[in-house]
Subunit: 151 residues, 2 copies
């Protein structure tokens, strides 16, 4: 497996160990990871810190041209918020671990000119499948979907 | 002026006093402010903390139904990142202080069914006009646009 997707999975696993939602991401520029992150909804009580957003936050203040030369690796297909961020920063390529457990806004990304690669990783799929089975209410909260428990 | 837009402007002014970019927002549910925020790129070194995102972050973990009954007030037209967040959380209405200094993704919001109101506030316009004139390089960095200084 690509070492950057491995780093994104390591972030997802770190999130799981912290009691959080196992989604991770890394932002890569010229072969170097400039930001790592994972979903920290539970850990920090923040609804905006999806894995991709956390990686962007942790990349700090970068000049516009850096984003435009970067690749975002994420363990799960990006939701509309993260898609908006990818388009806003002008990130030209996104590598996605899996889109079986959640299909994000890949069509919007593609139609906006972003190159998408699907790694179709069994490891990514198992992480999310197991998590969703164990914590469906938390998963629904994270994707802002109402669920039967009144979320 | 509407008291919620006034609260968003107060957030923008707080940001300016902190040395930051003067954009503020509040999230309102059933007539109560449940999250206040302002752009904190400079203060926290975070590229994702636009005013709207900071207000969402500060609203904490809310059930999906709360967002779907809320109104977001923001001093400036929402960029693609903040638009993605508005759509992701299903916020049905956005009140925008001004869109003269920056026109965000209002068409995407409207076409996605979000109700938009433009307050066309002179106070909001002056805040941004003065800031952009004083700190053009910081403004370009915030909207992820390359500028002549190499950002």
């Amino acid at each position: 497996m690509n070492k950057f997707m491995r780093a994104a999975i390591a972030e997802a696993q770190l999130g799981l160990e912290e009691g959080g939602i196992p989604i991770g991401a890394v932002l890569v520029h010229n072969g170097n990871i400039i930001g790592r992150g994972h979903n920290r909804r539970v850990q920090l009580g923040s609804p905006i810190l999806h894995g991709e957003m956390d990686a962007l936050a942790n990349s700090g203040r970068q000049p516009a041209k850096i984003y435009r030369e970067s690749v975002l690796y994420t363990t799960l297909s990006p939701c509309m918020m993260c898609t908006g961020a990818i388009l806003f920063f002008g990130i030209p390529k996104v590598v996605i671990g899996e889109n079986t457990n959640f299909m994000g806004e890949e069509e919007l990304l593609r139609s906006s000119g972003v190159k998408i690669e699907i790694a179709d990783s069994e490891e990514c799929k198992k992480l999310m499948r197991d998590f969703i089975a164990a914590r469906p209410e938390l998963w629904n909260e994270d994707i802002a979907e109402p669920c039967k428990t009144g979320n």
